[in-house]
């Protein structure tokens, strides 16, 4: 296999503690190696450029049934946005919900190597895997949703952690899933009857368990198994004014629980798109609505067992999609745009609604500010990850713009002064005007590489250039010594000069030159035999599922043709 020597770049690697030193980086046989291990490498001149490990996205909706709904029901999202086939590259289309081909190419062009599909409805796991299979280049995995699953609700009501864990292990195997996602715990089941659970103490209809119990129970079950990733939660009351108290109540469920795993993960709860969960006030009106990012960030800063990602609003026309069914209904009532909902038997639901975050409204400006504030208030960049909850707060291709806002106070001031219509009101109701901090390139590498890789339990493969890691390297045309204009940040991180993925060059001089050799990651967790769970599974499939148990598992080769299986032994 090929050998590459990336010479003379400014290297940023938080794991190795390299902070912009000019040094060489070596790749051989698909892995990072010492430069001395190369015999006859192809040389890549990175002088005047920034070199980092390929980025890791911890939360994006890029594959699966609701993403496909977004594509199919929004032809307008593709108007004038098609790119023809060229060389090895296939046709691309779409903006906020791009086709899988464009998804893979765009991530590669931004220097990403791994992306986590954030919500997989178990019954639709095949669909998720078919899309992942057809997404070129990037490695991917998917998190099945558990927070409204009838098995989980019934076991946790009786505090049966071991049974919950056995069920999780079984479902991960059935769906080729990676970890435990928990969306609007209990509220989505309530949505089966058109209801919701707005706080952590509202009991789920019929099942008579509270969201707080579900969150804590799933954390405990996750640590019982010792999975690579922790419980990944989207708390109740997303997007509602005053919801920060619900968020704090949710985070409190992690108190006193320590991580237990063999993957180097230290946290037990990951809260996703925290921006949507850090609102104060009683309505969306500017005299009531306010930022509570500081209060939420302070809580997280004072704990060491929680990670989170931002979910920054990028002020685009986008397509919202979530397993939080009642929220999407709320949204369509707000904006009166088209609404898709799918309730999934015994498991979950999902909704999709287009949304325009207009810089001419106060509320979109405030949401933008809150997302950025969270990134700036956070004390530990290793626990703070940059996302836009693609495509909910904005499409993932805007990540470099988010980097710009985080890294430049001037860019933020420009937004408040010149882009947002109600910039002054936003200064007034949010903290953004008071913050001087600018994220450094080293911190950026923590927030987009080392941090998310560690939180996913993949620190041994991704997020660093240490010898032995995967040969995933991104080279950006950004010179930290001479670049002064914040726009340079956005431009450079949107168009990596090179991406080496799995030891092969897939982006050369900004152009995609290979469809790569992508892999699907999943977690195979061994647990002790559990006759009760086996019986319950058989019973539920016989009586309440519309498919037979034997037709549930994603087993055939064409769904996961190139798997990377992480084995976990939880039998002791």
């Amino acid at each position: 296999m090929a050998e590459y020597l990336i010479k003379n770049g400014f290297v940023y690697d938080p794991v190795l503690g390299i902070n912009g030193d000019k040094t060489d980086v070596a790749v051989k046989d698909g892995k990072m190696v010492e430069t001395s291990a190369l015999s006859n490498p192809a040389e890549i001149d990175a002088s005047g450029m920034t070199v980092m490990a390929a980025a890791v996205d911890i939360h994006a909706h890029v594959a699966g049934p609701k993403v496909c709904v977004g594509r199919n029901f929004r032809p307008e999202d593709k108007l004038f946005r098609a790119t023809p086939q060229a060389g090895i590259k296939r046709m691309e289309g779409g903006f906020s919900v791009p086709t899988v081909l464009k998804t893979g190419y765009d991530y590669a062009r931004m220097g990403f190597g791994f992306v986590m599909e954030a919500a997989m409805p178990p019954l639709y796991a095949r669909h998720v895997h078919e899309e992942i299979r057809d997404t070129p280049i990037i490695d991917e995995a998917a998190l099945p949703v558990f927070g409204n699953n009838w098995f989980v609700l019934e076991y946790l009501k009786n505090q049966e952690i071991e049974n919950t864990a056995a069920y999780i292990a079984w479902l991960l195997r059935m769906t080729r899933g990676f970890g435990v996602k928990n969306v609007n715990p209990g509220g989505t089941e309530a949505w089966g009857w058109g209801l919701n659970c707005p706080t952590v103490n509202d009991p789920v209809p019929y099942f008579d368990i509270t969201p707080a119990q579900i969150v804590r129970g799933l954390i405990e079950a996750n640590e019982f198994l010792g999975l690579p990733h922790c419980m990944h939660v989207h708390a109740n009351s997303l997007g509602q004014p005053g919801n920060y108290t619900v968020t704090l109540d949710t985070l409190k469920q992690a108190e006193g629980i320590k991580a237990r795993n063999e993957f180097g993960r230290d946290q037990v709860l990951h809260h996703t798109h925290l921006q949507f969960h850090s609102y104060g006030g009683e309505s969306y009106a500017s005299k009531s609505f306010e930022s509570k990012s500081k209060e939420v960030a302070d809580y997280i800063n004072a704990r060491d067992n929680i990670t989170f990602d931002l979910g920054v609003v990028t002020l685009d026309e986008t397509t919202t999609m979530t397993a939080d069914g009642p929220f999407e209904h709320h949204l369509t009532e707000l904006n009166h745009l088209k609404w898709v909902n799918t309730d999934v038997e015994l498991e979950t639901a999902a909704g999709v609604v287009p949304y325009i975050y207009s810089p001419k409204t106060f509320i979109a400006g405030a949401q933008w500010a809150i997302g950025i504030e969270l990134g700036l208030f956070a004390k530990d960049p290793m626990r703070t990850f940059i996302t836009t909850d693609h495509p909910n707060a904005g499409p993932f291709i805007r990540y470099p713009r988010v980097y710009k806002w985080l890294m430049s106070k001037a860019a933020r001031e420009d937004m408040l002064d010149n882009v947002l219509k109600y910039g002054n009101t936003v200064r007034d109701r949010c903290y953004i005007g008071e913050i001087d901090r600018e994220i450094t390139l080293f911190e950026l590498a923590q927030m987009t590489r080392a941090g998310p890789a560690k939180a996913l339990g993949l620190a041994g493969m991704f997020g660093s250039l240490k010898p032995g890691m995967e040969g995933d390297v991104a080279v950006y045309p950004y010179n930290p010594e001479t670049s002064g204009d914040p726009e340079d940040i956005e431009r450079a991180f949107s168009h990596a000069q090179y991406l080496i993925k799995g030891g092969d060059v897939v982006v050369r001089e900004g152009q995609v030159v290979s469809n790569g050799n992508k892999r699907t990651f999943w977690v195979d967790c061994k647990v002790n035999e559990n006759p009760q769970v086996e019986r319950d599974v058989a019973e539920k499939f016989k009586r309440y599922y519309s498919v037979n148990l034997a037709n549930y598992e994603v087993y055939a080769h064409h769904y996961v043709p190139n798997p990377y299986v992480i084995e976990v032994d939880a039998t002791q």
Partner: protein
């Protein structure tokens, strides 16, 4: 003693029943009997055993007779025809698996084809309506476990989806529906007294083509506003009654079929039906679902959705994906002479397209990939018989509620026969050579 294969998926209609049992001979070569299936589904399995089945490709000769050719020759004819065409139509895709659909789309990209599926004459109008107003829906198991109000509008599952009512919608006892049919109220809207209508609690025998009016009247009635004495032939008293019945349910669903999608007003009917459902969600929980016909027409829309973003009428001829129903739909292209070759797979336009379109297929270089002898195979220049998906080969198919299920292989195809996927992979490789792609 014959062997029984369980949990077999039925590759006939969009209900995609997955509880069939198929008895095969000891040597595993012959299907002897099919259990749990409806009459149509069972026939699909048994038909594959027909002794007069065509097992090799056939080319139509100058004099109208057929000559057997090898699969190699069939691949060559297909690849050269598609590669030489300026704008070929690749139609069908509804009775094959998603893997074949995905590879077929790659061929379409290389040769610049227009891809279209059977939705174009079926639920394409539904797909357009969803692009207008969305669709609140659910999986069929949700109906089984929760639904207490069921509406069948312009569809006749008793004949078209025979096990639908017993598996999911009317008769079964689910988690919150322990009384089964006794706990559900069933409404049928149909101008005809169908066998489905005969089992309903209420049958609204609507005037033909007046669905839009009745749907709108229901929206008025939900709000208790004024209605004329009759709408679409239904007395206003009945309309208010039905509106109350719908609002009083705990969980309801409207199933609809081609009676509304392809009658007067087309997609506007569905717009209105979806808005009825949206309105009902102000009061309680309601859903709506198209009764998709072919077992994997839904899948072809999904495959094209993730690859190119459009569920049907997908035009790749300009080098990028484009979608404009009425312009890039099969019949419009055929009658306007805009395509110069036709490739059909997993569908029978010869039986279902207007005669004017079928004549165009007859005139053009044309290929039909289908296990059966159909009116389409009769008008095409090349007929490529293949293994039955779901009987002789597996693969993914999407149910009417978009749930993907892996079909099972029950027996081997007759010796030397190719599957859809194998044939398309060969064609792709050859097209790549010809196009230098």
């Amino acid at each position: 003693m014959a062997k029984t294969i369980t949990d077999v998926v039925c590759p006939f209609c969009g209900t995609l029943c997955d509880d069939l049992e198929v008895g095969v001979s000891d040597d595993g070569k012959k299907i002897i009997d099919v259990y749990n299936a409806c009459a149509i589904g069972a026939e699909k399995f048994l038909h594959s055993q027909a002794s007069d089945r065509v097992t090799r490709p056939r080319m139509k000769q100058e004099d109208g007779s057929w000559k057997e050719v090898s699969y190699d020759e069939a691949v060559e004819y297909t690849a050269t025809t598609l590669a030489a065409a300026r704008k070929p139509l690749m139609y069908g895709w509804s009775s094959t698996n998603c893997e074949a659909q995905a590879i077929g789309t790659e061929i379409g990209e290389i040769v610049g084809a227009v891809m279209d599926n059977t939705a174009t004459v079926c639920h394409g109008t539904t797909l357009i309506a969803v692009q207008d107003v969305g669709v609140p829906s659910c999986t069929l198991g949700e109906i089984l476990n929760r639904a207490d109000r069921i509406v069948f509008w312009g569809c006749n599952p008793a004949h078209a989806h025979p096990r639908h009512m017993s598996r999911y919608s009317i008769f079964p006892r689910g988690f919150f529906t322990g009384k089964g049919a006794k706990g559900r109220r069933m409404i049928v809207v149909d101008p005809r007294v169908t066998d489905t209508a005969k089992t309903a609690d209420m049958h609204l025998q609507i005037e033909q083509g007046r669905d839009y009016e009745l749907l709108t009247a229901l929206r008025v009635a939900f709000k208790g506003e004024w209605l004329p004495d009759t709408v679409a032939g239904i007395p206003k008293k009945t309309i208010y009654e039905v509106a109350d019945l719908m609002k009083s349910g705990r969980f309801g669903i409207i199933f609809f079929g081609m009676g509304v999608t392809q009658s007067l007003s087309k997609n506007h009917n569905i717009d209105q039906a979806i808005c009825v459902t949206r309105d009902l969600n102000e009061y309680t929980k309601w859903n709506i679902m198209p009764m998709r016909g072919h077992y994997n027409v839904t899948g072809s829309g999904e495959v094209w959705g993730w690859l190119h973003g459009f569920p049907f009428a997908l035009d790749l001829s300009r080098g990028f994906a484009r979608y404009n129903p009425g312009d890039t739909t099969s019949n419009d292209l055929l009658v306007r002479d805009e395509v110069d070759a036709v490739f059909v797979i997993g569908s029978d336009p010869g039986a279902h397209f207007p005669n004017s379109s079928v004549k165009k297929i007859w005139d053009l270089p044309s290929i039909c990939v289908d296990p059966h002898l159909t009116p389409t195979t009769a008008v095409c220049k090349l007929h490529v018989p293949v293994a039955f998906v779901g009987v002789e080969t597996g693969g993914c198919a999407y149910r009417m509620d978009n749930v993907p299920i892996e079909c099972r292989k029950v027996v081997d195809p007759p010796e030397g026969m190719m599957t859809d996927l194998e044939f398309l992979e060969r064609v792709t490789a050859r097209v790549r050579e010809l196009k230098g792609a």
